[in-house]
């Protein structure tokens, strides 16, 4: 199984998707010029992969410090996809990591988590850089 690794830039997040071990990480800042062009290929690949999983242990870590509205929409879609994977019999853990001094990111994570019905949600506070 392959992996997708994209280094973070000023406007785009770091992507570390390990399809073999079902561990996925999205971190950094996200306000791409073209949100569809950036997220399209990786989300399509992820959706196809998750649909094919059954009884798998899946971990998705979000460690974002800033994102724009389009990214927020992508994230909401991702949460739906992960929840659907959990509903179809996979053990899915979504971890939302935020800096202890960042109330905004914490609240956004809590709001996104409201849509999760089947996946496990973990809110993890870390020390600011």
């Amino acid at each position: 199984m392959d992996t997708v690794k994209i280094q973070g830039s000023e406007r785009t997040p770091e992507v570390d998707f390990d399809f073999g071990s079902n561990v996925f990480v999205l971190s950094g800042e996200s306000y791409p010029e073209d949100v569809t062009a950036f997220f399209g290929p990786i989300i399509e690949k992820l959706e196809a992969h998750l649909e094919a999983q059954s009884g798998a242990e899946i971990r998705f870590d979000f460690e974002l410090v800033y994102f724009n509205s389009s990214t927020a929409k992508v994230l909401m879609g991702l949460f739906d996809t992960l929840d659907a994977a959990a509903e179809s019999g996979n053990d899915v853990t979504v971890t939302w990591i935020y800096a202890s001094d960042d109330d905004n990111i914490q609240e956004l994570g809590e709001e996104f988590a409201e849509d999760l019905e089947h996946a496990r949600f973990v809110l993890k506070e870390v020390d600011p850089d």
């Binding site: 569809t36 509205s69 389009s70």
Partner: protein
């Protein structure tokens, strides 16, 4: 269908429209309600897409503005750091924190005023190369300013070779503590001068600078003088002139203080009364005291160890001695002792 952030919403809308077109809904009323609902959803969907686009644009704009603001802040910070070098730290802080108005306003306050200059400076300038003089003066002012700032002084100005410094504004620790801080600073300066003189001598300057200091405590006018366009934060008054007169009468490497200051520091330093001074504008003679304990215990804290006799010249700069150098110097000195013993 490729990835679209509103893929699911578009799919739901397309399905609803297909259902309407097929006309398979039971009953005209249901058909009509479903059509209304689909139209409302389509409108809401369009609005959401617009709002997200608008929000993205606003965020991008905000990001740009923040970045430009950060750059401007960095520039202003750099500029204010440069400006700070032209001002005393307390004056700079009181302006930048907004504690003091930048306005033509003065007040009467009891301050301790310090005046210093270099003995025979005019003569020295004539005998020296300008480059050497620049080196000596910069070395001298840098060291003295550092000591002044360490003691919480307000450096008013440098006038050629002279320095006007005061304690008690914009910050004051009380008249007595201000006077004591000023005298402690003056002593630290003269002690440092002793080290500097050794350094200058070792660099070949045959006439190292010697500083004279005068200190007086009394009521002065302090604040911004000048015009609305160009003001100077300084002090004026007879007590300032008296500090200058005391300085003029001080010994080279000495500190001469007025009776007013002496009363505030008598338990801190030893003094010796000198001939009274007749100052312009002051009817009575001014009693003057020379501090005699400037160098007490200095040998142990000096960075230099110096010995100079016929056939012996030794100058050790302890600040330059790291562990290795110390060991190396001990070996050298032991070698010298061995040669002397044989």
């Amino acid at each position: 269908m490729g990835f679209e952030i509103f893929k699911k919403e578009e799919a739901a809308l397309a399905a609803a429209k297909a259902l309407l077109q097929a006309g398979t809904l039971e009953g005209a009323a249901a058909q009509e309600h479903f059509e209304t609902l689909t139209k409302a959803y389509e409108k809401l969907f369009k609005t959401t897409k617009r709002l997200v686009r608008m929000s993205d644009r606003n965020e991008a704009e905000l990001n740009r503005a923040t970045k430009s603001l950060d750059e401007k802040n960095a520039m202003l910070e750099g500029l204010s750091k440069k400006l700070a070098k032209y001002l005393s730290p307390q004056v700079y802080d009181s302006i930048f924190t907004g504690a003091k108005d930048v306005a033509l306003r003065t007040e009467r306050k009891k301050l301790t005023v310090f005046f210093s200059d270099i003995k025979n400076f005019t003569q020295t300038t004539e005998d020296m190369q300008p480059e050497d003089l620049t080196y000596l003066l910069n070395d001298y002012f840098s060291e003295m300013s550092r000591i002044a700032i360490e003691h919480g002084a307000t450096i008013d100005k440098f006038i050629g070779d002279a320095m006007l410094i005061f304690f008690g504004d914009p910050e004051s620790r009380g008249v007595k503590e201000d006077a004591r801080a000023c005298v402690a600073m003056a002593i630290a300066m003269q002690r440092r001068m002793r080290d500097l003189q050794e350094r200058w001598r070792s660099k070949g300057f045959t006439q190292p600078l010697q500083m004279r200091i005068g200190i007086n405590t009394g009521y002065c006018n302090v604040g911004n003088f000048g015009s609305e366009d160009r003001m100077d934060y300084t002090i004026i008054g007879g007590e300032v002139n008296l500090a200058a007169r005391l300085e003029g009468n001080a010994d080279p490497d000495g500190i001469l203080i007025s009776a007013e200051t002496q009363a505030l520091v008598s338990d801190l330093v030893q003094t010796e009364e000198r001939e009274a001074i007749q100052a312009k504008g002051i009817r009575k003679e001014v009693r003057a005291f020379a501090i005699t304990s400037i160098m007490d215990g200095f040998e142990n804290e000096s960075r230099y160890v110096k010995m100079e006799e016929d056939g012996l010249y030794l100058l050790l700069d302890l600040e330059k001695m790291d562990e290795d150098k110390r060991k190396q110097t001990i070996t050298h000195l032991l070698g010298v002792v061995q040669r002397l013993a044989t």
